[in-house]
């Protein structure tokens, strides 16, 4: 029981990070029909920015805001400079561009921050990557024999708050209505006066910032940041988006949490077959399984329209 609870909590906490990145994937996908392959690397860039701010002695709260604003600008600039010019040609062209961006951003991070794990004693003033939540070894509650850390509860709460804020944005604001309208029918959106380009730019910015938050939180749990930090997280987040449905923000969150839990349960209970190293295979199995059984995902809408 204690072990089950432990794995559940660990899974939800890990899954929360996948959820954040999956939210980014979904916001872009439903806005434009594009899969942003660079979602994880955009997040990594934000993660490094927050590290750098820490090195310069900026308080964590400000550092986080600066990191997320940088992420927003990066996402918005990507849409304007790279995606929009090729989007007219084909969805496939955009996909290739985001793959290029995936490599380019990783190279850029390497050029600025090097390929070592940071922080390290040779280069950094910080002892560990800043965590948004208390994470001393004693920061946990003992519940039914499981260690529930403040950090895992904090991360889960953060994701729920972000989800709620996004829900309010989409359903209670004019910008949200415009985003949904553009996602639903771009031509008609222009006909009612929505500046679709600006809305898409905002969507990419928002997606990159939310993913960036995921990167910062994730680096906080591993205490470090390095160039490979987001590779597997992006795979898990893609699995989460596939499971939840590529056009459903709520689905992305549920999908992320589910992937986190499934993965921890499978790796924990079937460790002689799966083990920690093969966790990622679970994500691939989920992707294949969902695509075979319910291609639109749990909460996605299959495109059906009465004519």
């Amino acid at each position: 029981m204690a072990l089950f609870l432990q794995r559940l909590i660990d899974g939800l906490s890990e899954g929360s990070i996948y959820s954040l990145l999956a939210l980014g994937i979904v916001i872009i996908y439903r806005g434009t029909g594009h899969l942003n392959f660079a979602q994880g690397e955009m997040a990594l860039f934000c993660t490094y920015i927050v590290y750098q701010m820490g090195e310069w002695g900026v308080a964590l709260g400000f550092a986080l805001v600066i990191g997320l604003v940088a992420g927003f600008l990066l996402g918005a600039a990507t849409e304007v400079a790279l995606v929009r010019p090729v989007a007219k040609r084909s969805v496939f062209a955009v996909f290739i561009v985001t793959i290029g961006l995936f490599r380019g951003l990783n190279w850029l991070d390497g050029a600025i921050w090097g390929d070592q794990v940071l922080p390290n004693s040779a280069k950094s003033k910080q002892l560990q990557y800043p965590s948004l939540f208390p994470n001393k070894p004693t920061d946990f509650w003992k519940v039914f024999g499981a260690n529930i850390t403040y950090q895992s509860v904090g991360i889960l709460a953060l994701v729920l708050v972000i989800t709620w804020l996004l829900f309010m944005l989409f359903n209670r604001t004019k910008l949200g209505l415009a985003m949904r309208a553009v996602a639903s029918n771009a031509d008609s959106a222009r006909l009612v006066g929505i500046p679709t380009h600006r809305v898409l730019m905002m969507s990419w910015g928002l997606a990159a910032a939310i993913g960036g938050l995921g990167g910062v939180v994730f680096a906080g749990t591993t205490h470090t940041v390095n160039l490979a930090l987001m590779f597997s997280v992006f795979i898990y987040a893609s699995a989460a988006a596939t499971l939840g449905g590529f056009d459903s923000p709520g689905g992305a969150v549920v999908g992320g949490l589910a992937i986190g839990v499934i993965q921890n349960m499978v790796a924990g209970y079937a460790d002689q077959w799966v083990g920690q190293q093969m966790k990622i295979a679970v994500a691939f199995l989920v992707i294949v399984g969902v695509l075979l059984v319910k291609p639109s995902g749990l909460f996605g809408t299959a495109k059906v329209e009465r004519v």
């Binding site: 209505l177 949904r180 309208a181 639903s184 029918n185 031509d187 222009r190 006066g193």
Partner: protein, 236 residues
Amino acid sequence: MTLLRTSGLKAGYGPVTVLHDLELEVNEGEIVVMLGANGAGKTTTMRAISGLIARTGTVWFGGHDITRSAADIIVRHGIAQVPQGRGTFPELSVEDNLRAGAFVRRRGAEVDADIAKWFEVFPRLAERRDQRAGSLSGGEQQMVAIARALMSRPKLLLCDEPSLGLAPLITKELFEIISGLNREEGLSVLLVEQNANLAMHMAHRVYLLETGRIVAAGSAEALSADDSIRKAYLGF
């Protein structure tokens, strides 16, 4: 007073030019009907005026040159389009469709009042206000598209084949509503219609379009009196 005037309007898709030096006018308070066979360029004309496709020549509206304005700016000038094939936001609720139609307006209270007004005009939409627009019947979706276009309080309504795929009774109902708006609120209308007989009844003036050019223009009575036109477009 001339509300809309195009001169030397050229537009098309990629290398294909569909409209050749199109000249047309809509005066304030007028219902103008554009007739033409399939492929004559009726929908292209609508899309060129509303700015959805690239165009050259000149488009004047309400004293402004809007040739270079983007679609979302043209709406702010007071042109609203009901696109062909409805073009609602299928994933959005009926009410959100109308709310999106009022995107260019600022005063929330007036927008709410207009939504209530259109729900009175189209009681069937009121019943389905929380339903996704894509799940509505064809006629209901057309009502959503018209109400949505009018939510921006346009001076000119571009209506692209509102009767497409609709039962004759519903078409008649829609046309009566459009005529009513014209009479009571002075709404100008440019209407593209296959159902020529019905459209001619409400038209003040008619244009005949053939392969991207205006080949005849005049009052509905004058054009109906012309034998060749009557045979080709009115079928009697």
